[in-house]
């Protein structure tokens, strides 16, 4: 790995073993581009000024239409440069393709709209990713519905998540980065509700209304912290667990403050009365909410698009649905 | 410039004259332009079917067993009969083009009639094949896909049998549509040919429809082994 800084400040932090090589190549291309762009611009500006037409019938200074040497040179130089970039990029990509055999194995499931991260050995999904520093980590990814793409800019890692196929991506983090906690030990957020600390993880393949809210964090921690399973955040009490499952599965489309997202807000949901698109009235009791989770297309609330995916028992157990109900009752 | 009216030479005996379009200098230029344009159009047809062939070959590779069992349900004898019909029609079409070049009005009409008969025969055979499939519960494009157990035993146990048949129906369906369009074009040629519209001085439409018909035939020559024989 070549240690390399970011002179123009236009790249994300270098947090994986890929970053040095990718960035060096990136800046190689930047300098070559700036040099050739500068040359073209200088020639253009110079001739536009120095060779400008001053009288209407002024002929051209030169009528040369051909110069074999010059043409060969300006064919060869770009050829050499792009072939060099090609070979370098290919070598870097070979590293990105093949994960080391001792990499920690994660399972990732993407859906409209969220991520379920299964840490090594975990049976419950997590909202955010925790990885140990200086250890290769490998993600086997599937999609429940449409195309998504796993993108962690700081790791220079990206791979599309394709339904029906297992996709692999890996990286080896080199820099620790934890959540910033407030006095109560809760993660701090900025004014827009984005978490502070950790590296950003995005969905980079368009997947619909919640595409831009599939934003999660990658927390890089020391091996000791990692061994304490910091991802294992499932609370003891049903209400806390309900909120946990909400953040994992529902947050992209249902607000808790009454604002309208893709679906109706959860604030004051239990006992709410309204109409479905077919005109029938409903009262949101427990049975109705259960049905809405398992078979969301059966009854769609008036004014909303029929887009909610079904949550099967494998994705959200009966107990988890019960916990969500307990938590919903607290939202008034 | 170039508004002079050019009339192509017309043989004696009730043939109609052809006036060359205003922007061409000669009848030859007009004929060659039309022919080149039509070849390019045929190239688009080849690319369009090329996409379907690519999809077929790809999925044949992904689900070899499905394609093998699915293909076995097609009747290669009927497919061969249809190949024979189309090959014959290509020959009668070529004879028709020749007749128009030689200003033979009646032979032109008869060769074209034979061509349409062969094409109609092809469509009848295709109808028999399609209806047999439907009769046995092999529906395209619907959720009603439920092949009879005795007709297609263990088909439903394979991966995505409907995909094979949807590809089969799409490919032969789009090809059949081309046969139908060709039949309409040839019928028009018969009508105009009987009026003496085509002769040694001007036979462009006969030549072009002839080219089209050979390409439709050629596509079938690829479809037949791919769908009926390769699996």
């Amino acid at each position: 790995m070549i240690a390399f800084q970011d002179p123009l400040g236009q790249l994300p932090p270098q947090a994986s073993t890929f970053a040095g090589d990718v960035d060096t190549l990136f800046y190689f291309l930047v300098w070559v581009s700036l040099a050739s762009f500068g040359l073209i611009l200088a020639l253009l500006v110079y001739s536009a000024i120095a060779h400008r037409r001053k009288t209407p019938d002024q002929p051209a200074l030169s009528n040369v239409t051909h110069n074999t040497t010059l043409e060969v040179v300006w064919t060869l130089i770009p050829t050499v440069v792009v072939m060099f970039a090609f070979a370098w990029g290919l070598k870097g990509n070979l590293d990105q393709q093949v994960a080391p055999a001792d990499a920690l194995q994660y399972r990732v499931e993407a859906f409209k709209w969220g991520w379920n991260f299964y840490h090594p050995g975990a049976t419950t999904a997590s909202e955010h990713l925790y990885v140990p520093v200086n250890k290769p980590v490998k993600f086997t990814m599937t999609s429940r519905d449409v195309l998504h793409s796993f993108f962690v800019p700081a790791m220079r890692a990206k791979r599309d998540v394709v339904p029906g196929v297992k996709q692999i991506v890996w990286f080896q983090p080199t820099v620790e980065n934890r959540a910033e906690l407030d006095a109560q030990g809760q993660p701090r957020t900025d004014e827009f509700g984005n978490l502070i600390g950790g590296f950003d993880l995005f969905c980079s393949e368009y997947c619909g209304d919640g595409h831009s809210v599939m934003h999660r964090k990658v927390y890089v921690v020391s091996q000791e912290e990692f061994d304490e399973k910091p991802w294992d955040l499932l609370p003891e009490d049903p209400v806390g667990r309900g909120e946990f499952y909400y953040k994992l599965n529902c947050v992209a489309c249902h607000s808790v403050n009454g604002s309208r997202l893709v679906g109706p807000s959860f604030l004051g949901l239990v006992g709410r009365e309204g109409r479905h698109t077919d005109g029938n009235a409903y009262t949101a009791d427990e049975a109705y909410i259960r049905e809405s989770i398992r078979k969301p297309m059966a009854k769609v609330v008036e004014g909303y698009a029929p887009v909610m995916p079904e949550f099967t028992e494998a994705q959200l157990s009966e107990e988890a649905v019960g916990d969500i109900l307990e938590w919903l009752k607290t939202l008034k | 410039m170039g508004h002079s009216t050019i009339v192509t030479p017309t043989p004696q005996g009730g043939f109609q004259t052809h006036t060359v379009a205003h922007h061409f200098k000669t009848a030859e230029q007009e004929f060659q332009s039309a022919k080149l344009a039509f070849w390019l159009f045929l190239a688009t047809e080849v690319m369009l079917f090329g996409g379907l062939f690519a999809a077929y070959i790809y999925f044949h590779d992904v689900y070899p067993e499905t394609f093998q069992k699915g293909g076995a349900l097609l009747d290669w004898k009927l497919g061969a009969l249809n190949t024979g019909l189309l090959l014959t029609s290509s020959w009668t079409m070529a004879m028709g083009v020749r007749a128009s070049q030689l200003s033979q009005r009646k032979p032109l009409v008869w060769w074209l009639v034979l061509t349409v008969i062969c094409a109609a025969g092809f469509m009848v055979v295709k109808y028999i094949e399609y209806s047999t499939k439907y009769h046995h519960g092999i529906f395209a494009f619907t959720g009603l896909f439920s092949p009879d157990d005795h007709y297609a035993p263990d088909l439903m146990g394979l991966a995505y049998p409907q995909l094979y048949f949807n590809l089969y129906f799409t490919m032969t369906g789009i090809h059949g549509l081309h046969v139908l369009i060709g039949m309409i074009a040839i019928a028009w040629l018969i009508w105009r040919g009987a009026q003496g519209r085509f002769h040694s001085g001007w036979y462009t439409p006969v030549e072009l429809v002839g080219l089209y018909w050979h390409v439709v035939d050629l596509i079938w020559i690829f479809l037949f082994p791919l769908l009926y024989l390769v699996p």
Partner: protein
């Protein structure tokens, strides 16, 4: 061909014509709606694509305004944002930019350059226009009947799960595709069969070479798009299963099919633009094009290679290492003829008699932005760097540099260049120069921040974003507003010139190709006498030193 007569010395043609111009020869609605004249069809296309550009541009402004704040400033939901960017893409790609130069400018200019009275197939030409109109109406109908929110790429399986309007939009694109095929097919035949006496292939102006290469792509690539959108419509309606993993299909196969057309489509957009720039640069520098043959062959080689690079759109989709190697290598190869072109244009200007006219300013703006677009393309062809930049704003900025900053600017350079030939009137050149500068500045203010954001990892097609990037988005929005002002100004003075512009000279810029030999505006069948080519190409009276 002819000895050059400077524009200023030529008396306006008023009253001295042998025949009425194509604009005056017949009047009334049907004389336009039913016309077979390539020039009138070209003008109808010009009006049509400009209107499409206006619609797409307004949508672009809305997108930029929405992104003023991280949570989105103007649309009530992400769904509306998604529909707006989809429509922006569909309008700009399929309705504006693909027909823009070929169907409007080339339709007008190509037969003139060949000394021909019309294109080879005038009826097909009119049919192409009406197919374009039908396709456009169908696209608008799709918007009215329910929204399309798939992006212009219609990736499955998302496009199969979203609303039904995807079907009519697919059929609209099928129709637009055939309109494009008809145009391309017509031009190939026209170039082969309608050239003036003495006009050998190497005496063809470079614009004709560019249009020829474009047309080959239109004819050979568009049918694959046709079958792809047709299958997509079937898939949506009947679940035939080819592209839907739920029925055994493969969504990545759709991407292969889609990009097999849509990558060559990028060259359907840029090749004619290169042709326009070649003509503008030589005329306004009064100097023969430098490296004519290399420029001609580079157009053809770009066309050929462009068929073999589509896989670079799927570098993150799990292609095998060998496939990625091949596509990356071939992508790099395209950079070489592209670089040759840029250098040749600069060498043409060098040592010329450079007139900084409005068309020339647009051409220079093209040369600057095209260099940016081309160079950033190399970043995206480089595998390990592309993995980071894929599907980010870097890609957005890159393809806007090529499509908008290059093709659209070349389109406008061409419009300004041939405007006096088309209408016999001149626009206000001072305003034209101001708008060219506004557009050049506006483009860079819009898209340079997007390159920066993309490098930092801002993914594309985001209705909301993290606040770190707000300042970049705001600069980008400011740039978009500058662009909007530049284009509005252009529209204003162009329309004004039709009614109040001064009469154009017979040969306003002193061009020496056949298009400038026709009366201004041309006759119904273009020329007074059948042109014959005898001299050298691009001979501005000094001969050419090879």
């Amino acid at each position: 061909m002819t000895t050059h007569v400077p524009a200023a010395e030529t008396a306006p043609e008023t009253g001295s014509r042998k025949e009425p111009s194509y604009l005056d020869v017949t009047k009334g609605f049907w004389s336009w709606a039913g016309t077979l004249d390539h020039k009138r069809i070209g003008l109808m296309y010009l009006i049509g694509v400009t209107a499409a550009f206006l619609c797409g541009g307004i949508l672009a402004l809305l997108i930029r305004l929405h992104l003023w704040t991280p949570t989105g400033a103007i649309f009530e939901s992400n769904a509306v944002y998604n529909q707006v960017f989809t429509l922006h893409g569909v309008f700009m790609v399929f309705i504006f930019i693909i027909p823009a130069i070929p169907a409007s400018i080339a339709n007008f200019v190509l037969p003139l350059m060949l000394g021909a009275p019309d294109v080879a197939l005038p009826r097909l030409n009119l049919a192409s226009f009406y197919l374009w109109l039908t396709g456009t109406i169908m696209a608008i109908y799709s918007i009215m009947s329910g929204a399309v929110d798939t992006g212009w790429t219609f990736y499955t399986p998302y496009s199969l799960q979203t609303q039904q309007a995807v079907v009519s939009m697919g059929l609209a694109i099928f129709t637009l595709g055939f309109s494009s095929i008809f145009t391309g097919l017509n031009f190939i035949v026209t170039i082969h069969k309608m050239r003036a006496r003495g006009q050998t292939w190497f005496k063809l102006p470079l614009f004709c070479w560019a249009i020829y290469a474009t047309s080959v792509l239109q004819v050979l690539a568009t049918p694959v798009l046709g079958i792809t959108v047709l299958l997509l419509a079937f898939e949506h309606l009947y679940h035939i299963g080819i592209f839907d993993p739920a029925h055994g299909g493969d969504p990545v196969l759709f991407q292969h099919f889609f990009w097999f057309y849509s990558h060559p489509a990028v060259y359907i957009m840029i090749l004619p633009a290169m042709g326009v720039i070649s003509e503008v640069v030589t005329v306004h520098s009064r100097k023969p094009l430098f490296g004519y043959k290399l420029l001609a062959f580079s157009s053809i080689s770009i066309a050929v290679i462009s068929f073999l690079v589509w896989g670079h759109h799927m570098f993150t989709s799990g292609e095998s290492e060998f496939v990625m190697l091949a596509f990356s290598f071939l992508t790099m190869l395209v950079a070489i003829p592209t670089a040759i072109k840029e250098f040749s244009w600069v060498a043409t200007i060098w040592g010329g008699s450079v007139a900084l006219t409005a068309p020339m300013l647009y051409a220079i703006a093209f040369l600057i932005i095209f260099a940016i677009g081309g160079l950033t393309g190399v970043f995206l062809g480089t595998l390990s760097v592309d993995i980071h930049l894929h599907d980010t704003y870097f890609v957005v900025a890159h393809f806007h540099a090529v499509m908008m900053g290059s093709t659209a600017l070349a389109f406008f350079a061409g419009v300004h260049h041939w405007w006096p030939k088309m209408f016999g009137r001149m626009y206000n050149e001072t305003l034209a120069k101001i708008s060219a500068v506004l557009i050049l500045v506006g483009f860079n203010v819009t898209f340079l921040p997007q390159f920066a954001m993309g490098s930092q990892g801002m993914p594309r097609r985001y209705a909301t974003y993290i606040p770190e990037w707000q300042i970049y988005h705001q600069w980008s929005t400011v740039g978009a507003v500058i662009l909007g002002i530049g284009f509005a100004l252009m529209l204003g003075y162009l329309i004004h010139s039709l009614f109040a512009g001064r009469k154009a000279a017979a040969n306003e810029w002193g061009g020496v190709t056949l298009d400038w030999e026709s009366p201004t505006p041309p006759n119904l069948y273009n020329f007074d006498d059948e042109p014959v080519v005898t001299g050298e190409l691009y001979d501005y009276g000094q001969g050419a030193k090879h």
